[in-house]
């Protein structure tokens, strides 16, 4: 199995207030930056968000039924 291309991996961030989001890098960065500024008046750069994110392991692939 190969790692997903950079930017396509699934990552997750959480806020101290309990809010969390998971998805691809761009969507997580966008959602986290929006939450930080809109709810906490806290500007956050892409680099700061990625620094605090964790990589979400890909779910193991189930062999398809009837696979040879």
């Amino acid at each position: 199995m190969t790692d997903p291309a950079p930017g396509l991996e699934t990552i997750s961030t959480s806020c101290a207030c309990g809010w969390t989001t998971t998805g691809d890098v761009d969507s997580v960065v966008e959602a986290t930056a929006d939450h930080a500024i809109r709810i906490h008046n806290m500007p956050a750069t892409r680099e700061q968000i990625i620094e605090r994110a964790v990589r979400v392991p890909a779910a193991p692939t189930e062999p398809g039924e009837g696979a040879a």
């Binding site: 990552i11 997750s12 961030t13 959480s14 806020c15 101290a16 207030c17 309990g18 809010w19 986290t32 939450h35 930080a36 809109r38 709810i39 906490h40 008046n41 806290m42 956050a44 968000i49 990625i50 620094e51 605090r52 994110a53 964790v54 990589r55």
Partner: protein
């Protein structure tokens, strides 16, 4: 990227801690963007704290009835300004909410801050402050629906006081 989650958290030398209160069947409850937990805001170097709290609450929840700073203390490597924000029940929607319990105040020494201050004590002080304002501040008295004066009667009025 870290191996362990590092929560995004409010930083900076001045932070606001917002307690959003509303009346649920005549009982004061805490709610807000972070549910009943304290709602932390970062205050920029050139920003006025009251403006920030009013704007963020307005944008996230809707128009507040009253926004008032009620105490401050030293915590989280910052000066924390506590605010009580009163909202109408119509703004609560699906936000988590919890009844406010009563707490003893965190008492200062004659020339020193209290050693520990719990959130419940900050809320208690804020509501006592609001109870005082209802009787002393004509703007607050005019803006708050009359039922608030009745509900707040159980809180001992106490003027603005630094907690830490």
């Amino acid at each position: 990227m870290s191996d362990l989650p590092i929560p995004v958290d409010v930083e900076g030398p001045v932070q606001a801690e917002v307690f959003v209160v509303w009346l649920h069947d005549g009982r004061i409850e805490l709610t807000g963007a972070c549910g009943s937990a304290p709602w932390m805001l970062e205050i920029g170097a050139t920003e006025h704290p009251v403006d920030v709290v009013s704007r963020i609450v307005r944008d996230a929840l809707g128009e507040p009835i009253v926004v008032h700073s009620t105490s401050w203390r030293r915590d989280r490597d910052a000066v924390i300004l506590s605010f009580v924000v009163v909202i109408d029940a119509a703004l609560v929607g699906t936000m988590a909410s919890a009844p406010v319990g009563r707490s003893d105040l965190a008492r200062s020494e004659a020339t020193a801050a209290p050693r520990e201050i719990e959130h419940g004590q900050v809320v208690e002080h804020g509501l006592r402050h609001l109870a005082w304002l209802v009787h002393d501040d004509p703007v607050v008295a005019a803006e708050l629906p009359a039922v608030w004066a009745t509900v707040l009667a159980g809180y001992v009025p106490e003027p603005f006081r630094a907690l830490g």
